[in-house]
């Protein structure tokens, strides 16, 4: 239930809707705030208090619109938004607006993570997940954190709702290959996870013991043409990933020995995508210029037997050229074209380039995986209306790279974006 924060210090801020930064900030120990000398424009409010959920301008149900008018900046007219607003006018004609912002107490999930032997697990990554619009395996990551030296964690500022808690190795803790990413209380997948339902202001405890499940080894050689034959001095190194179907996370940390061998330990049975890439960099120890030069991507079915000798033959990764054209009425300006991973897994950095004056571009060093094409420009409102690879429009579905015999990309750019208020 929402509660009035009468005794709490409230940070309140008002934003000019067209401004980039708060024009006024207030912090009042008793919960009241006053903004004076407002300029004539529209505002949004934000409020923050210890133990309560932040109210920010994005939350339409708490936003309130104020409008000042006239030469006297102290004269304000309040136009009610969806907040609780009233207004009075004093004898001098000055309008005073009164806005009540109801803050909701935050909920808390805390707990302790132990390894399969019961020892505290330090530096494990904790994710507080909830069914939401930004999905990964159907869940949105609401809060991220790490366990402390006692394996403990505490996630505050949560809205009332139903949550799942997941722990994995990304925090850098000592993690054996047979340890699994584990959902509360000890499940290796969402089906076995126990949801936590918490109300506003409630605290829930979620102790998690990391599950240990042995799997099989998948290993082999990386086979690529001799790229040193050109005589240029280059460093190369390899990266390999084994990604479960419908996931965006590498399943196990692989071991790669230079660019010759790889192995994954304790892989569970299932359907996976195996990706490999060889990068080259200059000999300059200051690095940079990392470029994917060979790559491969294939499906693999893993059972309950060790799979040694899974050799991966990498092919040269061709550059991906293309052209940008503009819709009628849009100025032909240089735009930035990039390919970033989304909705899947991709190896290597997102390649990026800027179009030439004639609209042409070449994306180099595109690592294997699923990537989306993005266009951005210095002027606001530039966006891609279609991205065609051959006859196929890949704007929404993306590209599974590498594509053999890929034709140049044809990107059409529009410029008439609307604005959200």
């Amino acid at each position: 239930m929402p509660s009035r924060a009468r005794r709490l210090p409230v940070h309140a801020s008002s934003w000019r809707h067209s401004g980039k930064s708060p024009c006024t900030r207030k912090r009042m120990p008793k919960g009241q705030f006053v903004f004076q000398s407002l300029e004539e424009t529209n505002y949004y409010l934000a409020a923050q208090a210890p133990g309560y959920l932040d109210v920010i301008n994005k939350r339409a149900d708490f936003s309130a619109r104020l409008r000042s008018q006239g030469a006297d900046p102290n004269t304000c007219e309040i136009q009610p938004g969806s907040g609780d607003i009233s207004k009075t006018t004093d004898a001098s004609g000055t309008v005073h607006g009164k806005i009540a912002v109801a803050l909701t107490k935050g909920a808390v999930i805390g707990g302790r993570v132990t390894d399969p032997d019961g020892l505290p697990m330090e530096n494990a990554r904790i994710q507080i997940l909830r069914k939401g619009p930004v999905v990964q395996n159907g869940l949105a990551n609401i809060h991220g954190g790490q366990t402390n030296d006692k394996g403990e964690f505490r996630a505050g500022q949560l809205e009332a709702g139903t949550y799942y808690v997941r722990v994995d190795q990304s925090g850098g803790g000592a993690w054996e290959s047979s340890y699994r990413s584990t959902y509360y209380p000890r499940a290796i997948d969402l089906a076995g996870a126990k949801p936590l339902e918490i109300a506003a202001g409630q605290q829930a405890r979620a102790d998690i013991q990391i599950a240990r499940v042995a799997g099989v080894r998948v290993s082999g050689r990386l086979i690529a043409p001799d790229i040193d034959a050109s005589g240029s001095r280059r460093f190369t190194y390899a990266s390999v990933a084994l990604v479960p179907e419908d996931s965006r996370e590498n399943t196990n940390q692989p071991f790669t020995n230079g660019r010759e061998n790889y192995s994954f330990e304790d892989v569970l049975p299932g359907h996976y995508t195996l990706l490999a890439v060889i990068f080259e960099t200059g000999v300059d120890p200051f690095g940079g210029n990392q470029k994917a030069v060979f790559g491969m991507k294939r499906s693999i079915e893993i059972g309950d037997q060790e799979m040694d000798g899974v050799d991966l033959t990498l092919q040269p990764l061709a550059d991906l050229p293309g052209t940008v054209t503009f819709q009628e009425g849009c100025p032909a300006i240089p735009v930035r074209v990039s390919m970033y991973p989304r909705g899947g897994f991709a190896l290597g950095p997102a390649p990026m380039t800027t179009t030439a004056p004639d609209g042409s571009f070449v994306l180099q060093g595109v690592g294997p995986g699923h990537r989306m094409v993005n266009v951005s420009g210095q002027s606001q409102g530039v966006y891609a209306t279609s991205v065609k690879l051959g006859d196929r429009d890949v704007l929404k579905e993306g590209i599974d790279w590498p594509v053999s015999g890929a034709e140049p990309l044809r990107i059409e750019v529009g410029c008439n974006t609307g604005r959200l208020r």
């Binding site: 505290p120 030296d149 505490r154 505050g156 001095r233 071991f255 020995n257 000999v283 300059d284 200051f286």
Partner: protein, 506 residues
Amino acid sequence: MKMLLLALLFAAMAAGQTAQGDIVNAATGAPLPGARVSTNGPNGKPVMVKADAGGHFQLPAGTGSMFGLRVSYPGFLPDSRMVQFGQAGMNLRIALAPACVITGTIQDEDGFPVEQANVQAVRYRLQRGKRALGFVGSTQTDDLGHYRLANLPAGRYWVRVNASRLANWDRRYVAQYFPGGLQPDPANRIEVQAGQERGGVDIRMTKHEGVAVTGRVETPSGAVVSTGPYWVELQTEFHGMRESSSVTVSDNTFVIRHVAQGSYIVRAHTGNYPPVAGDLMGQQKLEVGDADEPNLVVQMQQVQPVDIAGTVVMDDGRPAPPLQVGVRGTMGSGVSAQTAEDGSFTLKGLLWGHYDVSVYPVRSADGRVAGPPAGFPRSAKLGEQEVLDTGFDVETTSPGPLHIVMSNRQIKLTGSLTDASGQPAAGISLAFVRDENWTENIGNTDGQGALHAAVRQAGDYHIYVVRNQNSMDDEDYLEQHANDFPVVHVVDGANAPLVLRMPGMQ
């Protein structure tokens, strides 16, 4: 030191030998069952084993003849060390020191908890022989304002809080030290003993009004600002701990409020950071007292790429082999150049900023070093100024030719190390420190307590046991253990074997 350990980690490997040992609590001698021991196995593949119920562990066969070991156990400081086999196998005894913890609560001036504040355990550290403040551990407060600084070595610390989320609402909440104040006070250090959890280190933050610095930026006549508004940043540094605040400037004037007394660098620049050629930048020193600074003028200059020519020579007169000379900027990426046959080089296109000097061997595509070893840089001078440790500044003109002297002189030391009872001390790292607190090198003992070390210069050396990764930059540790071993006088050429005995328990 970490670079040295990493380099040794990938040293020569040999098959057929196994290492085993016991993990114990350094304070009580009790075994630590379940302690994690990790190393690199055959072909460099990571291996992790756990100590059994008696604290005993055994690494799989095929581990190298020299390898890195990392041992950890919850609540204890991890131990990272290089281990070298002797002629026979190896039985290690690794004692983990109980870690220390400092806990407390951060509140604002009204007594309400401060969430998401960054809390640090700060002390003076010795970096390249210089004393500077640095943090040993850091954490964030939770929604109740509680913090827990864990995994600290025993010692004395200041506790510092930087509450940027709170300061975003009220700029007067600047970074503060326990129990209050903007500077670390020697009387307010928190001392923690091994294994101690010290609670109640609470900080009630106060608002500091400070003074206002008002000024304007002046652009050179005819300069065209290519991008966006200016940023003006006020940066101060107290013994290596930096504080800064910045504002955006759209009409060439600026006001920075709530500035504490101290020495500052005022830096103004146009939109790009790090700057690009054509941007405008300006910086100047500013002493802030107890009154407002009403009229500061920062003269801007157009950022131009500059070149620095230089030479590399060996200290024994031989020509230097091919080398890669690089400078890395604190505000941007680095620039490097390969030396010509006569040792000359030119670093091209350095933009405004501070740069550190590095020298690397030139490697072929397979990673092998080309030419004979050149050793390490002993000196790097811009004119008469030594810049190897300090780095140098570049503004709009070349700061002058850079002369680098390389050396590969090393004085090898051998000997033996025993524990307090006279038994060989295996797998111990020793640091050799010259009088000016410069950690010269790390030596290691093998499975039979035989010592192998090398230093770069003749001189008098203090010897310390390297107990953890923080030992050698902790001035308290160096002071307490300065006399654990007699001072060793190292001469050029052959030195007599060292016979060393450790005081007390390892």
